[in-house]
Each structure stands twice: as structure tokens, then as C-alpha cells.
């Protein structure tokens, strides 16, 4: 037996498939991974520190820059946390609009997940198709708030503006087309033998391991753990909607893919119900111009497309928070990488990274 040696390969921060500026230090034995260490911090902007010198309202645009493909969720998480702190009632219409927006954003985010998974596996066409339909959702957001990526739409006490009259028909058209679009993806990607064998039984993480690492969101549910904050600790008005929580079995790459594909269907169901129930009325509560929450601390969490997004705010009774901490799902999900990648091939590392779906804006905060 000839003597072999492991070698290290620096994957990133300039690499086509590390989803931005993630650096992986892979210790490889031939093509097999012995160790995978993620290095982060290339996108660190000190958002938590910035929060300390901004008023509560001023911080909302910064949350857009956390998980920048699901900004509505970030807005919602932060605003609900502050609302919990100052104890304010939100108008019905605003609650419904918030649900519609966050669920639309979940679809957009999962479409981006599917696209990046496709291109990481070499299926370029799948990516373009995903982006084509994500564009439709972004156009809807454009109608509502004029932005395609960083919305700053959900505000403390409601939403920034009422929806324009053309929004509802356009959304309904998108929802009507959505089953057809999904079928196209299933024909192109899900039904593809190569994709199936690339994803099935690779990157397995079982439910116990997943809980130990602290996985949340679709990654945790793919391991078979029924944990969706929308159900477990319902926030907003999620308890009024009828939707299922898709679960996986093995916690492999394939399950993580399928769970997200099914979540998109559930999201579209929620949006359809919300549009049907959407009441008339004000979209903004009466909020004082200068927010001075009482001294104290508050933690609130929501189900973002990537997992449990939590905000912890300590208030000292002034206009600015004493401390703001963000529990970023991508950051914590990334901890699973080393565990999942052991013994896999280089090609699988890319697939695992795609299905864990970390977003560097959120990892580095």
C-alpha cells in the first residue's frame, strides 16, 4: 500500500459556488473530504453594533441586508420584536399584507435556492428557469414598495404603504401559473435521474444530530423533525391559515430539496387564503413619531425561509436600543457543514452547501 497524504484545498472566498464570500478549508484525501472548516467574516458589516447608534425605525433598512433574498421576513421579524417591546396593536389589513409579502418572499427565496442548487450541480438551464419565475415575484414587490431586493416595506406598527390596485390581480395570476411552473421544474430537475442520484443519500444528517447542531427551518424539517415556528409558536395571524408542514425522512440533500419545493406549494396556499380574507382598513397603527420603549428586553422569533430568525433587543428606555442581537439561521445552519461533509467527495460538498443554503449576508451579519 503506497503512502498517501491529505492536502488542503482553499475553496473560496472567490469561488463560483460558495454562495458569495464563504471560505471553506477542505482537508482532502484524494477527492474525499476529511475535514471541512468554514471561515466567515468576509461580509461582516457590524450590523448589530450599528443598531446601537440608530433609532428603532432607522434600523429596519439594515435588516434588509441580513438575508437579502428574504428581506420581508427580516423586516417582519424585527418589527414584530419592537412591537412586542412597545406593546402595540397592528391593524388587520397590515397583518394580512405582512403574511402575503413574507410568503411571497419565501417562494422567491426557495426559487433562488432551487436555482443555485441547479447551477451547483451543473444544470444551467434549471437556474435560468428559477430566476425567470423569481423575477415575477420581484416585480410584485416592485409594485408594492418600489424595490426588488431590499424592501424596507414592513414598518413598526404596520406596513409602509397600501398595495396598489394592480397587485392583487397580478399575484392571483402568479398563483394561478404557479402549479404549471412547478411542474416544469419537476420535469426538468426533480424527475432527472442524475439529479436524484446526486442528491439521494448524500449529506445525511439525522434528526438528533440536526437538533444538536441547532439546525432550523427546512434543513431541520428535512431530517424529519416537525418544527415550524409558524405552527409551534404562531406569530402574527398564522393560526388563521390552513397549511401543512412538509417533512423529510432521511435528512439527505434530496429531502432538503424536496421539502423546499413542497414549502413553496404551502406558501402559495397561504397567500391565496390571505388574499381571499384580506380586509379593508388602515395599514398602519398609530405609532408615536419618537419611539421610546420602556426599559427591558425582548426576544421574538419567526420562521424565515432559511430557518428560525430571532431578534433580541435590550432597551434602556432611550430612543436607541442598548443592544440588538440577531439569531441568524444561516450562521447556525452552517455549523452542520463539517459534520455533514465528512467522507463526501468534493462535488458533494458543493451540493451540501447548496442544500444547507447559507446566505453570506446573514452568516456574517
Amino acid at each position: 500500500m503506497p503512502k498517501t497524504q491529505t492536502y488542503t484545498l482553499n475553496m473560496g472566498p472567490q469561488h463560483p459556488s460558495t454562495h458569495g464570500v464563504l471560505q471553506l478549508e477542505l482537508e482532502l484525501d484524494g477527492e474525499q473530504v476529511v475535514k471541512a472548516i468554514p471561515y466567515m467574516g468576509y461580509l461582516h458589516r457590524g450590523i448589530e453594533k450599528l443598531a446601537e447608534s440608530r433609532t428603532y425605525t432607522q434600523f429596519i433598512p439594515y435588516t434588509d441586508r441580513l438575508d437579502y433574498v428574504a428581506s420581508m421576513g427580516n423586516n417582519l421579524g424585527y418589527c414584530q420584536t419592537v412591537e412586542k417591546l412597545i406593546e402595540i396593536e397592528i391593524p388587520e389589513r397590515a397583518e394580512y399584507l405582512r403574511i402575503i409579502m413574507t410568503e411571497l418572499n419565501r417562494i422567491a427565496s426557495h426559487l433562488l435556492f432551487m436555482s443555485s442548487l441547479a447551477i451547483d450541480l451543473g444544470a444551467t438551464t434549471g437556474m435560468i428557469y428559477g430566476f425567470r419565475d423569481r423575477e415575477t415575484v420581484l416585480d410584485l414587490f416592485d409594485m408594492v414598495c418600489g424595490a426588488r431586493l431590499t424592501y424596507n416595506y414592513i414598518r413598526i406598527g404596520g406596513v409602509a404603504d397600501d398595495i396598489p390596485p394592480e397587485f392583487i390581480p397580478a399575484t392571483q395570476k402568479f398563483l394561478g401559473d404557479f402549479p404549471k411552473i412547478l411542474e416544469e421544474y419537476h420535469n426538468l430537475l426533480t424527475g432527472n435521474e442524475i439529479l436524484y442520484y446526486r442528491l439521494k443519500n448524500t449529506g445525511i444528517i439525522n434528526g438528533k444530530q440536526a437538533l444538536e447542531v441547532g439546525l432550523t427551518g427546512p434543513c431541520l424539517r428535512a431530517s424529519g423533525v416537525d418544527y415550524d415556528i409558524r405552527k409551534v409558536e404562531s406569530y402574527g395571524i398564522y393560526d388563521r391559515f390552513d397549511f401543512a408542514v412538509p417533512l423529510g425522512e432521511n435528512g439527505d440533500n434530496w429531502d432538503r430539496y424536496i421539502v423546499r419545493m413542497e414549502e413553496m406549494v404551502e406558501s402559495s396556499k397561504i397567500i391565496a387564503q390571505a388574499i381571499a380574507q384580506l380586509p379593508e382598513g388602515p395599514f398602519m397603527a398609530k405609532v408615536p413619531k419618537v419611539l421610546k420603549p420602556p426599559a427591558g428586553d425582548v426576544y421574538h422569533r419567526i420562521e424565515n425561509p432559511r430557518g428560525e430568525l430571532g431578534f433580541y433587543i435590550v432597551s434602556d428606555g432611550t430612543t436607541k436600543p442598548y443592544r440588538t442581537h440577531v439569531r441568524r439561521p444561516s450562521f447556525i445552519n452552517l455549523q452542520a457543514l463539517d459534520e455533514v461533509c465528512k467522507g463526501l467527495l468534493i462535488a458533494d460538498v458543493v451540493a451540501v452547501l447548496a442544500t444547507l443554503d447559507p446566505l453570506m449576508g446573514e452568516v456574517d451579519c
Binding site: P16, G122, T124, I128, R198, I346, A347
Partner: protein, 346 residues
């Protein structure tokens, strides 16, 4: 009509013209050889330009995009602009590279991919060298392109390039075997390795109908040999950045690119010759038929590339050795039994 604008007729006219200026027939032969050589090299270099444009337009069509549409009408001279850009780029040689090998690799890769064109029957009697071992020559020369990939990967002194180079060797060696065996079926039917004989034997029926399994095996192996998706593990950009080409830029990188498209054309030309009847076809001149069939084959190759995800290296090896090779061997066996029983009953 078919005879008049056939390539052989054109070469006869040229020969006649030359004989007015040169009395020595050896000089005429030399000039004709040079003209043929020039023609083949033109085809190779033009093919890259045309195929790059075609690839971009076809992929755009498949991906609900528009594709290049700025340079020239419908973006037709986009590839020319690309070529000019590549040629005018700075020539960067990495410091830690093994310079001689590094410089030699793209050139060496291009040589075999151009040399295989010597045995392609473009038209009736229009073949540069009608060797009696034509198809054997193709396999032998085409397999030489494995080494330059390894050279490029090794001499770049970069880990991505090295892994890519190693993958190339594993992939190309293991797919050469089923490819050769799939061709054996056709050779058994013809009883000759001469390209002109193989084409002549298909005058009344293409071998794709007699050897469908061999055709499928050949197609898959040819995609792997030309390193195209779903077998583009060599340069898979999502894992290895660009495999052995990672450190190359400018014209040196363009040579790899040229060789890739030249290989694609060669693989399609062999598929046309072996399975689709070569230049056989009614009404149109033979060379036009030849290029039309090549076009169809290339379209199929591109179709694969823009539809499928990439395989993993272990799946690739398993598929090559455990599926394709047995399939090709069984095909050889069945062809043998078929030929034997055909002889027995007729």
C-alpha cells in the same frame, strides 16, 4: 448535379488549373495536399467560431433567453469579437508553473484534435488519407489528448488544476474502452476499418438501424471524451473553477477552447460516418449531407449539455465500467451471432 459540386469534382478542376502552371506531377500533388490541409484547418478554426455562436444561441433558446445580439446582425460576429479579445489579452504565466510543460500543453492538445481530421470522409473520394486502419487511427490519435490535460493540470501547480487533470485521465481512459467496443460492432458489419468502405457499406441502410445500442454507447462515450456536460467533470466550474484550465488565460485558454470544439466536431463527424451513412444522401452534394448530419449530431450534444446536471466522479466511473462496457460487449456478441446466423441462412 451531385457530382458537379462534389468535393472530388472541385479538386479535379483545381488539379486541371495547376497542371497549366506545373509540369511535374509531384509538384501538383504537393500543392493539392497543401490545399487540402488548408481546407481542413479552415474547417477546424471556423468550426470553433460557428459552434461557439451556435452553442450560445441554442442555449439561449433553451433557457428562454435571447443570446448574443449586439455584435453584427443577430450577434453573428460575436465569436469573432471574442476571439479578438482573447488574442489581445495579456499573456500571463503563473510564477510557480512548470513553464515548458505549461506552454506546451495547449499546443499538444490541439495537435491530435486536428490530426484526426485526416481520415474523415467529407465527400465521395474526398478524404485526406484513406487509411486501411482509418477508424483505428481515429481512436489511437484521439486518445492522445488525455496527456495534455494531465500536463496542463500538473504543470499549473494549482490544486484545482491538479484534481481536474487527474479526473481527466480517469474519465477519458475509462470511456475510451466502451467507445472502442461500440465501434467494433460497425467494423464487424463492414469487415473493414477503412472509412470509405464504412460509408460505402451504408448506401442502402444506415448502421444506426443495425447497431442502435452501439450508437447510444458511442454517443454517451463521445460526450465523456469531449468533456461536455453531463460529463464535464474535468472543468466543472461549480467545483473546480475551471479544472486544468484554471491558470490559463488569453490565447492559451482559447486553444483549449478551440480543441474542445474541434473534438466535438470530430466526435460528431465519426458518429455521422459510422452510424448515419456519412455523405450518403439524395439530391444534395455529399459534403453538404455530411455537414448537415454533423449539425444534427452537434445539436443533440448541445441539447444534452443544456439539459442535464453533472454526474459525480464515482458515479461516472461506475457508469462507464459497469453499464457502458458490458453493454458494448454484449452488443459485440450479439452482432457476431447475427452475422454468423445471417451467413448460415443465406
Amino acid at each position: 448535379m451531385q457530382e458537379v459540386i462534389g468535393l472530388f469534382a472541385i479538386s479535379e478542376i483545381l488539379r486541371g488549373l495547376l497542371s497549366q502552371y506545373f509540369s511535374n506531377p509531384q509538384w501538383i500533388d504537393l500543392f493539392m495536399a497543401l490545399i487540402n490541409l488548408g481546407g481542413i484547418l479552415t474547417v477546424i478554426s471556423m468550426s470553433a467560431i460557428v459552434l461557439v455562436y451556435a452553442e450560445r444561441k441554442i442555449s439561449a433558446y433553451m433557457q428562454v433567453r435571447i443570446g448574443p445580439n449586439r455584435v453584427g446582425p443577430w450577434g453573428t460576429i460575436q465569436s469573432v469579437a471574442d476571439m479578438i479579445k482573447l488574442m489581445s489579452k495579456e499573456d500571463i504565466i503563473p510564477d510557480s508553473a512548470d513553464k515548458k510543460m505549461w506552454i506546451l500543453a495547449p499546443v499538444l492538445l490541439f495537435i491530435p484534435s486536428a490530426a484526426v481530421y485526416a481520415v474523415f470522409p467529407f465527400d465521395r473520394q474526398a478524404i485526406f488519407a484513406d487509411l486501411n486502419i482509418g477508424i483505428f487511427y481515429f481512436i489511437a490519435v484521439a486518445s492522445q489528448s488525455t496527456l495534455p490535460f494531465l500536463m496542463a493540470g500538473w504543470s499549473s501547480n494549482s490544486k484545482y488544476a491538479l484534481v481536474g487533470g487527474m479526473r481527466t485521465v480517469a474519465q477519458m481512459l475509462s470511456y475510451e474502452v466502451p467507445m472502442a467496443f461500440s465501434i467494433v460492432g460497425v467494423v464487424m458489419l463492414t469487415g473493414s476499418m477503412r472509412m470509405s468502405d464504412i460509408v460505402a457499406a451504408q448506401q442502402h441502410g444506415w448502421f444506426i438501424f443495425l447497431q442502435p445500442v452501439a450508437f447510444v454507447v458511442y454517443m454517451i462515450a463521445a460526450i465523456a471524451e469531449t468533456n461536455r456536460a453531463p460529463f464535464d467533470l474535468v472543468e466543472c466550474e461549480s467545483e473546480l473553477v475551471a479544472g486544468p484550465f484554471t491558470e490559463y488565460s488569453g490565447m492559451r485558454w482559447a486553444l483549449f477552447f478551440l480543441a474542445e470544439y474541434s473534438n466535438l466536431l470530430a466526435a460528431s463527424a465519426i458518429a455521422t460516418t459510422l452510424f448515419l451513412g456519412g455523405w450518403n444522401g439524395p439530391w444534395l452534394p455529399g459534403w453538404l449531407w455530411f455537414f448537415l448530419k454533423i449539425g444534427v449530431m452537434i445539436f443533440v450534444f448541445m441539447w444534452f449539455r443544456w439539459t442535464f446536471p453533472r454526474l459525480r466522479i464515482d458515479q461516472l466511473m461506475t457508469f462507464g465500467w459497469k453499464v457502458l462496457l458490458p453493454l458494448a460487449l454484449v452488443n459485440v456478441l450479439i452482432t457476431g451471432i447475427g452475422i454468423y446466423s445471417y451467413k448460415l441462412f443465406s
